[in-house]
Symmetry: C2
Subunit: 220 residues, 2 copies
């Protein structure tokens, strides 16, 4: 199909498609003349993936380029791809070395040992976790650390579900893509789900007028 048809079928404007090609997110179409290229359903699929990572996953274009490079590298073992994706989801900042950061790092190392996780405190996810805990400590919420094992249990539940999903698709050639989608979009799903569970829990704990609110909202 031509670029205009690709644009129509995916809802992505033509200049944006050209931008993705320039940035290496989308392979170029096959040139049929000097000024014309044709695209096929692999481009369509890739465009949909890019938009999902961008719009729902909240990744930046540079991070998506990095993730897609890992996806497209046939020599890269699965857990390396997962690692690359996890890194892009992270904040990729250097941690501070104040007392709160050191204590938070130790708490994360203890958690990994306690749960028996095959992970290391130097993993980007572990560093981000330590950063979040240190930030809580700094605003006077060090006690939040008491919730870590509840959080860990919930995370294990989600990770088991995610990997089970990937495992069921193990024969399919889009396994790597599945992992990427599950990791990035799964985070969006869980975040929304957690907020929804909060609405429920806080309505029970604090509020009476939630049903009325909801109806008012629905009527808007």
């Amino acid at each position: 199909m031509r670029i205009s048809e690709l644009s129509r079928s995916t809802g992505v404007p033509v200049p944006t498609i050209k931008y993705y090609v320039r940035e290496g997110l989308l392979p170029p179409g096959e040139l049929t003349s000097r000024n014309q290229a044709i695209y096929d359903e692999t481009h369509e699929r890739r465009l949909r993936l890019i938009r999902a990572l961008l719009d729902v996953g909240g990744l930046k274009v540079a991070a998506i380029a990095e993730v897609l490079r890992a996806v497209d590298d046939p020599a890269r073992p699965m857990h390396k791809v997962l690692g690359a994706v996890a890194d892009q989801l992270g904040t990729a900042r250097n941690e501070d070395d104040d007392a709160e950061s050191v204590a938070a790092g130790a708490a994360v190392a203890e958690l990994i040992a306690r749960r028996g996780w095959s992970a290391h405190e130097s993993d980007p996810a572990a560093r981000d976790l330590a950063r979040a805990l240190a930030a809580m400590e700094r605003v006077g919420h060090g006690a939040f650390r008491g919730l870590l094992d509840d959080y860990a249990e919930a995370a294990e539940l989600v990770a088991r579900a995610d990997l089970g999903y990937v495992d069921r698709r193990v024969a399919v050639d889009d396994l790597v893509e599945s992992v990427v989608i599950g990791t990035v979009l799964g985070a969006a799903v869980f975040n929304a789900m957690r907020r929804l569970a909060h609405v429920d829990a806080s309505a029970r704990l604090f509020g009476q007028d939630t049903a009325a609110d909801a109806e008012r909202k629905a009527a808007d």
Copy 2:
């Protein structure tokens, strides 16, 4: 203290502090002369909260202003504050009305009914959840919907832990702030935790060399 001392004690540059005051995130200091204002520990505390929401929570300045307005409004009931925070955590975009969106919205409504949640499909969190599911459907992963109840169970576990934490602090005057911190920073904690659980699960499923990787990383 003077603005320069406030800057030193919080690590936030003076021009940034002034910017937060202009944007209404931070109350102005008390004027002691035409060109000088003094600040106290409430400013210090508020600045730390702003930085945590910004750096770790990933909220934008405008979203933080909205959240703090809810925090500072004494007339606002707790579950309204929680709702305001949840809204800012969301993507605040209009949903599409294609077949995937309609189906995803129905799946979310069913989930809410099945779990018996005091929530409504028109809540921002429910809409974001539907958006994420629709995006998955569009990239060929409608089957992910089979994981919804595992995700819901994990979200309930986290929400119970969060609200339990808030409940224990119910006598403290910073209850509202606790809720905000728990909601925003708790999401950062859980996301990092989920990625860490993925590292563990995928090492078990796919990889052998994770320990070696970790050591190499640690040695960097």
